[in-house]
């Protein structure tokens, strides 16, 4: 016979039924996959860059309430970018660089000046260097609240060049002021577990 009271029996039975019929969505953190509360971030630019332009701000995204694309209080998660042009960089003279909060990204981590897309177009018998269609590159970058990221372009040639650039990803509310966002649960610590229960976990 069971030691359970009828009420406990009912409870166990309902837990079993729930466990058999439910399906638990396992969600990645907001900095890996967008949550339901995330918003899309897609910026593309296809503009002619004047000759000998010097460094110009091409795409500017910010969450610092500066009238940018993202409202303040949000975390921006970039998933990819395009920094390319109509011709290979050796021909076009186009250069790109990122500035994050006014600082250049370190060269040893991020150097795209000589690596703009210049793949060979497939099915072309002459294999003429043809830098488009542009392919998106992956990037892993998180911009916290009050941050600004600028993709700058420089046309070093003497004629106008077409620059193709894009940033894409998503942004989500930063409710707790933490980089991982307020939707995430805090990690367990020793205090949560408790001394007497430690052996059980």
């Amino acid at each position: 016979m069971s030691d359970l009271t009828p009420a406990e029996d009912q409870m166990v039975a309902s837990v079993i039924v729930a466990a058999r019929t439910m399906s638990i969505p396992i969600r990645n953190p907001a900095y890996i996959d967008p949550t339901w509360w995330s918003y899309p971030l897609n910026v593309t630019k296809t503009r002619p860059v004047p000759a000998n332009s010097g460094w110009l701000d091409y795409i500017d995204i910010n969450s610092d309430n500066g009238g940018g694309l993202v409202p303040t209080g949000h975390v921006i998660r970039l998933k990819g970018y395009v920094a390319s042009g109509q011709y290979a960089p050796t021909v076009s003279g186009l250069r790109y660089r990122f500035r994050k909060n006014g600082q250049f990204l370190p060269d040893q981590e991020f150097d795209i000046t000589d690596t703009i897309e210049r793949h060979l177009e497939r099915n072309n018998p002459n294999q003429f260097p043809h830098p488009f269609p542009c392919f998106h590159r992956r990037i892993v970058m998180t911009l916290n609240n009050d941050s600004r990221l600028t993709l700058q372009v420089n046309n070093t040639s003497g004629i106008v060049r077409l620059a193709f650039a894009s940033l894409y990803g998503y942004y989500y509310p930063n409710l707790l002021g933490l980089s991982k966002g307020g939707q995430e649960a805090p990690p367990y610590t020793d205090e949560d577990v408790g001394e007497e229960d430690r052996g059980r976990f």
Binding site: I24, P25, D33, L41, N42, V43, T44, F164
Partner: protein, 261 residues
């Protein structure tokens, strides 16, 4: 019954004390809940590195508790806005509009999400057959009239026989990647504008209403994604915005009671 054996009960308590654990008289509900749980001990893999591994004791009797009468298992799945659920519907929308003028915004197409679904758009591609070479066009994506984002692209190779390769940044074989969720009963609209050749700041050389010269006024937008169904299917997938810590199962942890939204 094993659970009512007093000597076994004392052995359980003595064993717990030996392991340094807190001695709690296990209730029947506790035993039912922990049935199948095996006592394990933790050892360090290397001295000085606090990364324990669990070792199941050998040669000991099976832990107390009733054998499960019903095999209990549950599914885990990806959230419906990341992976399409089993009951979701595919979405591959093609919107065509005739846009014969420069600098004049037109609605390319709209889609209203049904009551029982949420829409997730992940890929965008397009064709601007009304554009001359180096003409720039912009597409606005609006949810219930609010602009989610605006993208622009340029006809860069009008000689390519492959329409996927005519535009600089996107095409049918390399669509623009996005994450565009649209809630139930909401309407997603795409609005297009053919800017023509522009300067660096995006100012067009054309006046609004200038006619195109290509003879084909089609502006085409293709959206791909899925309609994720909402609650009350055995597959799960409750309404995403209702998801609490227990996936909507726990009535105490709703947003109204201060839980996570």
């Amino acid at each position: 019954m094993a659970a009512s054996d007093p000597s076994l009960r004392q052995r359980i308590i003595a064993d717990a004390m030996r392991r340094g654990g807190r001695v709690v008289s296990p209730s029947a509900l506790d035993r039912g809940y922990w049935s199948g749980w095996s006592p394990v001990r933790q050892v360090a893999t290397k001295p000085g590195i606090d990364r324990p591994i669990n070792i199941l004791p050998t040669g000991e009797r099976v832990p107390d508790g009733a054998d499960p009468q019903i095999p209990v298992w549950g599914n885990t799945n990806c959230p419906p806005w990341i992976c399409p659920p089993f009951w979701s519907q595919p979405v591959d929308l093609t919107f065509d509009v005739c846009l014969p003028f420069y600098e004049q915004a037109e609605q390319v197409g709209c889609f209203t999400v049904p009551q029982d679904y949420v829409l997730v758009i992940r890929n965008i591609s397009y064709e601007a057959l009304n554009a001359e070479i180096y003409d720039m066009f912009q597409l606005e994506f609006l949810v219930n009239g609010a602009n989610r984002f605006t993208i622009e692209d340029m006809l860069i190779d009008n000689t390519s026989p492959n329409p996927a390769h005519r535009y600089a940044l996107g095409g049918h074989t390399r669509p623009i990647q996005t994450f565009l969720p649209v809630d139930r009963n909401h309407t997603l609209c795409v609005r297009g504008i053919l800017k023509g050749q522009t300067d660096f700041n995006g100012n067009s050389a054309h006046q609004p209403g200038d006619p195109i010269t290509t003879g084909d006024c089609t502006l085409r937008v293709i959206l791909q994604g899925w309609l994720a169904n909402l609650r009350e299917n055995i597959d799960g997938s409750p309404r995403p915005t209702d998801l609490g810590n227990m996936g909507g199962l726990s009535p105490e942890d709703t947003q109204e009671n201060g839980g996570y939204p």
